[in-house]
């Protein structure tokens, strides 16, 4: 199985005046294509920071990152943005849909903005993704008229729009009721199984972690070897 992500020796130090805080202390992460991986750890363990670094939203103090065969740490901001747009998908705890746009427009947005408009192909793909997440009949609904679970499903469809190599999800069910959370997890599982989508899901929720192929546990800024770690995040 090919490798989608390989991060080696990731160090992240935040500086506040003279005080330095080392949040990540040499983290190594590797994800194979089609894996569904949970990133777990207690609050303050550094998992959100690691997720931001792997999502190219934050530059690490040190370390090497290779995503879909490309080294990314030396890229300019413009190149990182283009890389995020083309190769990565994001699902956040809050759906962060654009309220002035319909479900279909929200899904198509990551492709439409760089291209200068929604082409018929983009529209077809956005509608098929909405169909995939069970919201074909809501395509022309304004985002504000969707329920919380529906919004998060639209957000997943949006993350898939540009056929990313890696989808990074930060507490994707953290803001949903049990039923909606179950639907979102089912959906991510389906996309993973049927489309071979690779997911790295940051979560506090043991139920979410339990449905992943494997888990990466962070403890105090380091990856805990699986045989040493607890199955239950704090």
């Amino acid at each position: 199985m090919s490798r989608v992500l390989q991060a080696r020796g990731i160090v992240m130090t935040f500086r506040n005046g003279d005080e330095e805080t080392e949040v990540l202390r040499g983290v190594d992460v590797e994800l194979a294509t089609g894996e569904l991986v949970a990133l777990v750890g207690a609050s303050g363990s550094g998992k959100s920071t690691l997720l931001s670094i792997l999502g190219l939203l934050l530059r690490p103090t040190a370390g090497e990152i290779e995503i879909a065969g490309q080294r990314v740490e030396g890229m300019s901001e413009r190149a990182r943005a283009a890389f995020r747009n083309q190769r990565l998908g994001f699902v956040f705890q809050f759906h962060h849909l654009l309220p002035d746009f319909t479900a279909m427009e929200n899904v198509a947005f990551p492709a439409a903005a760089p291209a200068g408009g929604i082409t018929p192909d983009m529209r077809r793909r956005a509608l098929s993704l909405l169909d995939r997440v069970g919201l074909a009949d809501r395509a022309d609904f304004p985002a504000t008229r969707l329920s919380g679970g529906q919004k998060q499903r639209v957000a997943i469809a949006r993350a898939l729009m540009n056929k990313p190599d890696l989808i990074i999800a930060d507490e994707p069910t953290g803001n949903l009721d049990l039923r909606s959370a179950g639907q979102v997890l089912d959906l991510m599982g389906e996309v993973n199984r049927e489309d071979g989508g690779t997911f790295l899901i940051c979560t506090h929720d043991e139920h979410v972690a339990a449905r992943c192929d494997r888990r990466i546990q962070l403890v105090d800024g380091r990856v805990q070897p699986q045989d040493e770690g607890s199955d239950h995040p704090d």
Partner: protein, 402 residues
């Protein structure tokens, strides 16, 4: 263009705020147009009033200057103006000059004249007058005399004279009565007052007498030439340009009306500067209004913009979205302001007082509409530059974590 669609969507998502913003811009534009139309109208009215009874360009014989021949550059040379006392200053070739002038565009009327000083004598009463000899068919070319006749008629004939009401009163004259004209050239002739006019200008009504060019010739000892050629233009504003051209083309001294009314020109320029200041302040208020609204909009949409940045949407796209909002606001407010400005100016121009005069000398057609539309649109786009730039720099991570 997708950025335009996003910009439009942002503006229509909060119609009340957008309507307020566009109305604010439109108000600024309306003020700009009102001030422009008022100042332009005032300038037109003052110019019309000043030039209604006088020429826009006057041609007279030039002062003859001695030619300085090139010599040793080390030797200092000086030139002097040579005013001949042996030769009459006149325009001999006035017919060909007149033909040349009438071929030029924008010339509405032309009057070759013999002007000089004289006395009108009626019994023991003597009054100094400025005499203007002109072609009878061109009597009204420069100064509208016939429409202002209060007695008699405008036909000058061979011995006719037209005088103002004040002069007629000073000499106890009425239309049809004879009067002796004695010129500063020693000419003397008994003429008949054919008509009495009242222009409302004291200088004309009390000091000027009109007679025919042929009658004036022997009186002023000018059998061929004329002393001056007076010209009216379609656009008095071009007087300086036309005067420069005619001076070069004819070798005569050409004086535009502005040079005879320097105080008025200064006043108009001062008025223009005041208007420009008000226009600048109107534009500044438009720019500040648009900028502050878009700064607020950018702040309110930090999270959305942050998400776009997280998806890898370029900073250029974000800048375009906010600058297009500025463009749309500027265009909409500018167009609305042009319509309301024209409406306001037209309404004010249509108001008349009891005598049928407009109380405000406003010129609705001179509101500077194209200029204000362009300036407002550019101003609104520039005003959006700062919020656009700050929005494009929003840290996606910070926005997501909010």
């Amino acid at each position: 263009m997708f950025a335009l669609k996003v910009a439009r969507r942002y503006l229509t998502s909060n119609p009340a705020q957008t309507v307020l913003l566009v109305t604010g811009v439109a108000l600024g534009v309306t003020v700009f147009i009102f001030i422009t139309a008022l100042i332009e109208g005032l300038a037109v009215r003052l110019t019309d009033e000043v030039t209604a009874n006088s020429a826009h360009v006057s041609l007279e014989p030039a002062t003859r200057l001695a030619e300085i021949l090139p010599g040793d550059p080390a030797v200092r040379t000086e030139g002097v103006a040579l005013v001949s006392t042996f030769q009459r200053r006149q325009i001999r070739a006035w017919r060909s000059t007149a033909e040349l002038i009438t071929r030029q565009p924008g010339i509405s009327a032309l009057s070759p004249q013999i002007s000089g000083n004289a006395f009108l004598v009626k019994g023991e009463a003597v009054q100094p007058v400025s005499v203007t000899g002109l072609e009878p068919e061109g009597l009204d070319a420069i100064t509208p005399i016939t429409p202002n006749l209060v007695a008699g008629q405008g036909a000058l004939g061979a011995d006719g004279l037209l005088i103002g009401t004040q002069l007629a009163e000073d000499l106890g004259l009425t239309a049809g009565q004879p009067v002796l004209l004695r010129t500063d050239r020693g000419g003397e002739r008994l003429l008949t007052v054919r008509g009495v006019f009242k222009t409302g200008l004291q200088s004309l009504d009390s000091r000027v007498a009109f007679l025919s060019l042929q009658t004036a010739r022997p009186l002023f000892d000018l059998p061929e030439g004329v002393t001056n050629i007076e010209i009216k233009l379609d656009d008095p504003g071009r007087a300086r340009e036309v005067a420069d051209f005619l001076a070069g083309a004819t070798g005569l001294r050409a004086t535009p009306w502005q040079d005879k009314n320097l105080n008025l020109e200064d006043a108009l320029e001062a008025q223009g500067r005041t208007g420009t200041l008000i226009q600048i302040f109107s534009l500044i208020s438009i720019i500040i209004g648009v900028a502050s609204a878009l700064v607020l909009s950018a702040y309110r949409r930090r999270s959305e913009v942050g998400i776009m940045r997280a998806f890898g949407i370029s900073g250029g796209f974000i800048v375009a979205v906010f600058m297009l909002q500025g463009l749309l606001i500027g265009l909409a407010g500018g167009l609305l302001g042009c319509v309301s400005g024209y409406g306001l100016c037209s309404f004010l121009a249509s108001l008349t007082d009891a005598e049928g005069n407009a109380p405000l000398p406003i010129a609705p057609e001179r509101g500077g509409y194209v200029a204000v539309l362009i300036l407002t649109t550019i101003g609104a786009v520039l005003a959006s530059a700062f919020p656009a730039r700050s929005a494009s720099r929003i840290d996606p991570l910070e926005a997501i974590q909010q």
